[in-house]
């Protein structure tokens, strides 16, 4: 049976994401900095995978494939982090509580192993969602 764990998700800036963004949205630096989900070692155990495995992260909005990595900035078990960018935003709920601010931090996601699923490029992850990706 496929294993699935539920985590509380936050999306934030990281310096690698900042550097990557300024290097260009299509740069490898940006891709490497943002296509990760940082998780606590305990959550790796719960999910039963090694670090640096691709996972499918699903929220109420949709799913995205990312590489699960161990946190550099320490998290508590149950809390996960994706650097901000089009990949993170693929699953951020757009609901704003009438404040203009979507739910960038503090929304539930399911994480499951997807070791062989490919990670899309920055532009394709957006185009795919918008139905503009020519397959």
């Amino acid at each position: 049976m496929e294993k699935k764990i539920t985590l509380n998700m936050i999306t934030c800036r990281t310096i690698q994401q900042g550097v990557g963004m300024e290097a260009g949205k299509t740069s490898q630096k940006y891709h490497d900095a943002c296509t990760i989900i940082q998780m606590h070692p305990d959550d790796f155990k719960r999910l039963g995978v090694w670090k640096n495995t691709n996972v499918k992260v699903t929220s109420s909005v949709g799913s995205v494939i990312l590489k699960a990595v161990e946190t550099r900035e320490d998290l508590v078990p149950g809390l996960a982090h994706i650097p901000m960018g089009p990949w993170a935003n693929r699953i951020v709920p757009a609901y704003t509580y009438s404040t203009g601010e979507p739910c960038f931090k503090g929304f539930p996601v399911d994480v499951e192993v997807a070791a062989n699923a490919p990670i899309l490029s920055s532009i394709n992850v957006l185009k795919d969602a918008c139905g503009l990706l020519r397959k």
């Binding site: 900042g18 949205k25 508590v76 509580y97 203009g100």
Partner: protein, 441 residues
């Protein structure tokens, strides 16, 4: 001979470091080196000289590919889109100059658009809170010269504002703070043990989404009232102890970031942090400041402020009045509700930073994106108009996170024939005038 341009203002974040030295080639075309900048700022200058930069407008075709068009064609298309649409979202502005914004607002007023800036997904919550309860604050030099208690709450300058701690908040020695870091007590409140937390004397780990409750507890403790045993995972003894220590400070500064603005309750988290600041002023001196991220997003709020009286999400769609209601005239809400007919993006990349549902809605509308580089939004727009990089290839006014304006410097020429935001917007404005005079598109 390469030459050094000094006192250059970094065009990346709201810290607006203004001591960069940029070495440029003799012909003013190439950046050879950047000194004093953080990794992100340096990368911004480096990007200027990357090969393959787009230098002419592009139009997306039916098959999804782009073809090059002239500036005149792009301007005409844009003006026609603006004149035709009954309600247009004009979003972005954070990476351009105040002078350019001013022209943009003139266009918006004529064509009936909503002008919104990046605060809408960033410190918009903070602006709502300030609208509700005000904000006791100060300039960054005050922090450097006086602060002996520094609190970073839900912000991570080590990553988002890399030179903030060395220029203003932790390490510098100031007039009354001759001991620098040693004379300051640094607190960090976050749900993660961030790299900023690692620089702090004390880290308070709050359960994600419990900032409002914890701030309420600090206020309650400061008034000497009873508390439950733990609040947001923090024991009450710790809360009392810190509240007491803050009262002993001479000058307290609270810096806060997305950890408050993006979490549950949004504006209320800041609202109550401001109220705590206010309360502490009954005992000592205390200030609070938003860690504004996107370079000149503060400037957009200022220009909108003096021209229309609202800091963001300014609805000029009726053309004869200005209105503002966060939750209604904010970009993500407008897109969620499909309340606009066309999108005009400038100096930002909502495709990378808006939740996907908003961008799906956006992708179904005529869209023009003005940005120096290819980015996510340009690739789903009908037209991409490249422009000179503000703060690198053209000067202009930008506002720092503490609202101090600085005239930024041009260090190199833009690629041959490339327009600046100001030039481009002026041309669009003229074309809009012509179309309106002729009675529509």
């Amino acid at each position: 001979m390469p030459k050094d341009v000094t006192d250059v203002i970094c065009p990346f974040c709201g810290t607006l470091c203004d001591d960069l030295v940029v070495t440029v080639s003799d012909d003013n075309k190439t950046i050879l080196g950047v000194k004093n900048a953080c990794a992100i700022g340096a990368e911004k200058f480096n990007h200027q000289r990357l090969p393959g930069r787009v230098t002419r407008p592009r139009m997306r075709q039916a098959d999804g590919s782009f073809k090059e068009i002239t500036y005149d064609e792009a301007i005409d298309w844009t003006a026609k889109m603006l004149v035709k649409s009954r309600k247009t979202l004009m979003y972005g502005w954070a990476s351009t100059s105040c002078q350019a914004m001013s022209i943009g607002h003139e266009i918006a007023e004529k064509v009936g658009a909503i002008v919104d800036n990046c605060a809408t997904v960033c410190h918009g919550s903070s602006l709502i809170a300030i609208e509700d309860v005000g904000v006791p604050s100060c300039t960054l030099g005050e922090v450097k010269n006086r602060a002996d208690r520094v609190i970073f709450w839900g912000c991570n300058p080590a990553h988002a504002h890399p030179r903030h701690m060395s220029r203003y908040s932790i390490f510098p020695r100031g007039f009354f703070t001759v001991k620098g870091h040693k004379g300051r007590k640094i607190y960090c409140v976050d749900c993660r043990y961030t790299d900023t937390a690692k620089c702090a004397d004390e880290f308070i780990q709050v359960q994600q989404g419990y900032d409002y409750e914890l701030l309420n507890a600090f206020r309650t403790a400061a008034r000497g009232e009873v508390l439950p045993d733990t609040v947001g995972g923090v024991p009450k003894e710790k809360i009392y102890e810190i509240a007491e220590d803050l009262k002993q400070g001479r000058f307290i500064i609270i810096f806060f970031g997305m950890g408050l603005t993006h979490s549950m309750g949004r504006n209320h988290n800041i609202d109550i942090a401001i109220n705590l600041t206010r309360d502490l002023n009954d005992f000592t001196k205390c200030a609070i400041m938003a860690m504004r991220g996107h370079w000149n997003v503060t400037g957009s709020g200022q220009v909108l402020g003096w021209q229309y009286g609202f800091p963001f999400a300014v609805d000029l769609s009726r053309r004869d009045q200005a209105r503002h209601q966060t939750g209604e005239t904010t970009s993500v809400d407008l897109l969620n509700r499909s309340e606009v007919e066309a999108c005009f993006y400038i100096a930002t990349d909502p495709g990378a930073h808006f939740p996907v549902d908003a961008m799906i809605s956006s992708s179904k509308k005529p869209t023009v994106t003005i940005d120096p580089h290819i980015q996510c939004t340009t690739e789903i727009s009908d037209i991409h108009i490249p422009v000179a990089m503000v703060g690198v290839e053209v000067g202009g006014c930008a506002y720092r996170m503490d609202n101090v304006p600085i005239e930024t410097r041009k260090v190199v020429d833009p690629p041959e024939g490339m327009l600046t935001d100001e030039e481009l917007l002026t041309k669009i404005n003229h074309r809009v005038d012509e179309l309106l005079l002729a009675g529509g598109a």
